[in-house]
């Protein structure tokens, strides 16, 4: 009956979203008066999941699963969900979780709601709130199947401490070759750089920066703040910045704590993609730019003057507050 939660780690270390999904699963378990079982794969310090409310951790240690292979992971999680008799399975909204969830849904004959932003409004009928129309609206979705799968939007629930035992049991899933039809040949991951998916703060530049040669100050700000860099669609279309930095409706969604937009006017498609960020700052010369309607804080001014000055101030602030 326990609520099952799939936790993600990287090189053994749990991601922050792992603790967020466990916190969320705890919330559901409390609503349904049941326990939380976390699934961890090749992770360290599984006891830390107990801090956020995991009663039990099913730990898979397997060389076969050292690389993320969606079908094999789906088979393993399905097996555990069946063993546990879980009625609710919770995942994050990472690229891997979104790869995995639909496969799980078929295996468990479960209804799946992605981009969920809050605890269920009711457990029976099981109804959740999720974003739709790329953050331009919310949608209340009822899941009618016996087993339900929830993809939790990043930063929507937060971390909530609820100390539990997190008793670890190890598990060896029965895997077969058919689950390895897609073979990972190579992984090319940016090192020493915060990714948009993991970032608490994102610093983003637009066409107002006039050319790729002017990104130094954006990167500097990102460095100072420990932030990821991003850009608007025209900037990636013109090849000033890589596609992987394009945020917006057809690019990556951003759900950071702080989003700083420099020289971005705020087209509706861009705003949709970054809307889930908690605090938004805009720096733009044009006071009529639509971004000012979406932002919390705004500076009407020339980025080339404001950003270098702001960087100095931020450095000072960081030096005094770390």
């Amino acid at each position: 009956m326990s609520v099952l939660v799939y936790t993600e780690s990287e090189e053994g270390k749990f991601k922050k979203t792992a603790y967020e999904v466990v916190s969320y699963a705890r919330g559901i378990a409390d609503m349904m008066s049941t326990t939380v079982t976390a699934v961890a794969v090749n992770a360290e310090e599984t006891a830390s999941l107990g801090t956020y409310g995991a009663d039990k951790v099913v730990h898979i240690k397997s060389d076969k699963l050292s690389k993320f292979t969606a079908n094999a992971y789906a088979a393993a999680v399905t097996e555990i969900a069946k063993n546990e008799g879980s009625k609710v399975v919770v995942l994050s909204s990472s690229a891997n979780a979104k790869y995995l969830a639909p496969l799980l849904a078929v295996d468990l004959e479960a209804g799946y709601a992605s981009n969920v932003v809050a605890l269920p409004e009711s457990a029976s009928p099981f109804k959740v709130k999720r974003t739709a129309f790329t953050n331009k609206a919310f949608n209340h979705t009822e899941i009618s199947t016996d087993v339900k799968i929830i993809g939790l939007s990043k930063n929507s629930f937060g971390l909530k401490e609820a100390q539990k035992d997190a008793t670890e049991t190890s598990f060896d899933p029965s895997l077969d070759d058919s689950q390895f039809k897609v073979e990972v040949q190579s992984v090319d991951k940016v090192k020493d750089k915060v990714t948009i998916a993991d970032a608490e703060i994102v610093v983003s530049g637009g066409r107002g920066l006039k050319g790729p040669e002017n990104w130094g100050m954006i990167e500097e700000m990102a460095d100072i703040l420990g932030a990821a860099t991003a850009c608007s669609k025209p900037v990636s279309d013109m090849g000033w910045r890589p596609h992987s930095e394009h945020v917006g409706q057809t690019g990556k969604p951003v759900a950071s704590n702080l989003y700083i937009a420099v020289g971005i006017s705020g087209a509706i498609q861009h705003l949709a993609g970054i809307n889930a960020s908690k605090t938004k700052v805009v720096i733009n010369t044009d006071p009529e730019a639509p971004f000012f309607k979406a932002a919390d804080y705004g500076i009407v001014g020339d980025a080339f003057e404001v950003v270098p000055k702001l960087n100095e101030k931020l450095k000072e602030f960081k030096a005094n507050n770390s």
Binding site: Y99, L103, V106, E142, S144, K193, I268, F317
Partner: protein, 248 residues
Amino acid sequence: MKILVCISHVPDTTSKINFTENDTKFDTNGVQFVINPNDEFGLTRAMWFKEKQGATVDIINVGGPETEPTLRKALAIGADTAIRINTEALDGFQVAKELSAVAKEGNYDLIIAGRESIDYNGGMVPGMLASLLGASFVNTCIGLEVDGDTATAVREIDGGKETVTAKLPLVVGGQKGIVEESDLRIPNMRGIMMARKKPLEVKEPQGASTETSAVSFEKPAPKGDVKLISPDNLDELIDLLHNEAKAI
């Protein structure tokens, strides 16, 4: 190689989103519908396979007759034939089940769908379809080559990308990067004329069940006014970000 491209019929990215009937239905009034952008990137890649590797390209949609102009547009871009499964698309699982029935009959080597539609953002149809067909699956696909019975695909992951090989049949969830924005094609007059004569087959649905239902909608609460800060007083911004927003 037989390719099937799944086409979602969605509101244009610039659409204002409103709801009617007590916030239970999307208000299509004044909304222009287009090919889902993630699907259009995939369709364009399919055209490349058609031109360079002699593939045939069918397109498919689950929806009512109102989706046909969108299918005609995809035919005008260069797809060979269109299939419309004549039922309202209610949830991702139902759509995947309807698609899988037709896809099974068609024995496709490669099925390309967008990683998600920009309306409901469910992000589940490609994976579910692959699973129902027992096919290989690569999501968030930003590069795709096919050689014989093996595909090499690039998958976008958080913070980078990975290269995978997969045996056909394969389903991919495509997105920008599978082709570049500049590769997208605007149908020309000849394409539009030809598209009128291309077959558009209407198939009756299996009556697949739904697992979820979108009960109601709401718009985000209106935001308070922006706090403007003078460029000469950046300390104020830092103070607000630190003490008010608690963001730094």
